[in-house]
């Protein structure tokens, strides 16, 4: 456990020892602000909730999370430190989990720093803070899912650009799998049950359900199991590369 913590601490501090963390946080806050207040028309709507704030999170994450995840393993491969890490007495699960949790905690920090939006809506009106809390939990879970996908893909290559692009594509498919853009492609030739399964993988569907204020166990299980599966795959990818 404390081995995982050591990996976690190193990785987490690693974000803040380079400009990456600050640039990411600034851009994230800037974009959430722009999308909420300008694109989403938060003031014009005149309603005391943060629906419009959360509405754009999947689309922001689609590009920002792969940017965080791409370096997780690709960078270690490129600089050779993966050889150091994997020859230290660290179980593979501790290395995978420690690095992943550090990246997740980092996105958590970025998300927390959006608190002025919450202050604003509470100053202006009388929102249901339970719904807002649910929104934050949902957003964090969804970020975790994007990150797990990115971590696994990052482990397959030493090239961060490839990791980024492939992650964006895979994340995009997961995001929109409930929308006509994907379903129309399948609807002509696949049975209804398969179609429903594909649609049920959509991040948007599950995320929207949570931001409506209802934390349904099914949505939480969806994100949690998705994270578990991708992290498991992450471990397998590293094991396979080891076998050469």
């Amino acid at each position: 456990m404390n081995r995982m913590l050591a990996v976690f601490r190193r990785e987490f501090m690693g974000y803040f020892s380079t400009p990456l963390a600050y640039i990411f946080i600034v851009i994230f806050l800037f974009l959430t602000g722009v999308t909420t207040f300008y694109v989403g028309g938060f003031f014009e709507a005149g309603q005391a909730h943060l629906q419009v704030f959360f509405l754009f999170h999947p689309w922001l994450y689609l590009f920002l999370i792969p940017a965080i995840a791409m370096r997780l393993w690709a960078d270690e491969r490129k600089s050779g430190t993966i050889e150091l890490l994997l020859t230290l007495p660290v179980p593979l699960w501790a290395a995978v989990l420690g690095k992943y949790l550090a990246a997740w905690a980092f996105t958590g920090v970025a998300l927390l720093l959006t608190f002025p939006v919450w202050l604003t809506v509470n100053y202006l009106g009388d929102p249901d803070n339970g719904v807002i809390l649910a929104g934050y939990i949902g957003s964090l879970l969804m970020a975790g899912a994007y990150l797990a996908i990115g971590a696994c893909i990052s482990a397959t290559t030493r090239n961060q650009v490839i990791a980024f692009v492939v992650t964006v594509v895979v994340c995009f498919l997961f995001t929109v799998s409930g929308l006509p853009i994907v379903l129309d492609f399948f609807s002509a030739w696949t049975p209804q049950t398969v179609l429903a399964t594909i649609a049920s993988f959509s991040f948007l569907t599950h995320f929207d359900a949570i931001t409506d204020g209802v934390i349904d166990l099914r949505d939480v299980v969806f994100f949690a199991s998705l994270i578990a599966v991708w992290l498991f795959a992450n471990g397998i990818v590293i094991e396979m590369k080891k076998a050469g």
């Binding site: 404390n2 081995r3 913590l5 050591a6 990996v7 601490r9 190193r10 501090m13 690693g14 020892s17 380079t18 600089s79 050779g80 430190t81 050889e83 150091l84 994997l86 020859t87 230290l88 007495p89 660290v90 179980p91 080891k242 076998a243 050469g244």
Partner: protein, 317 residues
């Protein structure tokens, strides 16, 4: 303490990087791992340290099998990977602290052990600078400090002196020699003088197979130059001397070298013995008996680079 048995590593169906290597390394032994680039040195080290999984064969360190108990085995090993990788954004202090945490060194003794490793690798002056900004020599020493931090019984170092200047090389060799009595050490190198300087034993591998295994002296004894005699005489007697040497019963061959202009009046001969026997006493007595003035006379132990070339390329010259 290190037992390697029939280690094989294949990459894909066609490439065999390591092809059935077996050896043992005992306590107090420093094993030099030699071979041309691509011979399989690093791959072997990566399998011993658990970074690569062997296709076949076993690795045991103090009785622990790397595949059955990877964590337990890795705890006993200190490893300096090729190129001494380290996290570039960390300072040596943060980096060593991280290694100490991962290796679960108790908090009470962390400061002490880090200080010891820093002293041994002479890192004190750069402890607060990002590793990224350090010179190649310092980076290498950060890697060394990391490898010896937990005072492991087994040390495996892939080219530990690569990129160091002669003084630093000397310091690292001294460090390895000082630690040697307590540990089993494997170093890979392509600097042959290093083998002579610090190794008790050398293994030469080529195309994934062991082609020579012995003490540096034993390996040098396989050299064409083993027990050859270098002798320098006045040039005016060169012709007579050459014929006389060739006529001696134990001399197999004589090579004559013209020395540079500065010493134009001198000629050097290399006398090769028959069957590698000792020749120098005989030659000494012979020249004294003739009253020839000898400017230089010494026996060669053999040349490691020659043995290296002959076992890895079949070239004997």
């Amino acid at each position: 303490m290190i037992e390697i048995l029939n280690l094989v590593k294949r990459f894909g169906p066609t490439i065999t990087a390591v092809d059935g290597i077996s050896f043992h390394v005992g306590k107090g032994e420093v094993l030099g791992f030699l071979g041309p680039n691509g011979a399989g040195k690093s791959t072997t080290m990566k399998m011993i340290t658990g970074f690569l999984a062997p296709t076949a064969g076993t690795v045991r360190v103090l009785g622990c099998d790397i595949r059955e108990d990877p964590i337990g085995t890795k705890e006993k090993i200190g490893y300096l990977p090729e190129g001494a990788p380290a996290y570039p954004d960390m300072t040596p202090r943060e980096f060593l602290q991280f290694i100490a945490d991962v290796r679960r060194i108790p908090h009470g003794s962390q400061t002490e052990l880090i200080a010891l490793a820093v002293r041994r690798t002479e890192l004190a002056s750069v402890m607060e600078q990002p590793i990224d900004t350090l010179s190649k020599g310092f980076k290498r020493r950060v890697g060394l400090a990391q490898a010896i931090l937990h005072d492991p019984p087994v040390l495996i170092m892939d080219e530990p002196t690569d990129g160091l200047d002669p003084n630093q090389k000397h310091a690292v060799r001294n460090l390895i020699r000082r630690m040697a009595p307590e540990k089993a050490i494997i170093i890979s190198t392509h600097i042959l003088e290093e083998v002579d300087a610090i190794c008790d034993r050398a293994i030469i591998i080529d195309h994934g197979k062991i082609v020579a295994d012995g003490t540096p002296d034993a390996l040098m004894a396989r050299s064409h130059h083993h027990n050859a005699v270098q002798i320098t005489l006045d040039s005016e007697i060169a012709k007579i001397a050459e014929e006389a040497f060739l006529a001696m019963p134990h001399v197999a061959d004589v090579a004559r070298h013209d020395l540079p202009d500065r010493t134009a009046s001198l000629t050097r001969f290399t006398l090769y013995p028959k069957d590698g026997q000792r020749l120098v006493d005989e030659i000494g007595a012979f020249t004294r008996a003739r009253g020839w003035s000898t400017h230089e006379l010494y026996a060669e132990l053999g040349r490691l680079d020659e043995v290296f070339r002959s076992v890895t390329t079949g070239d004997t010259q």
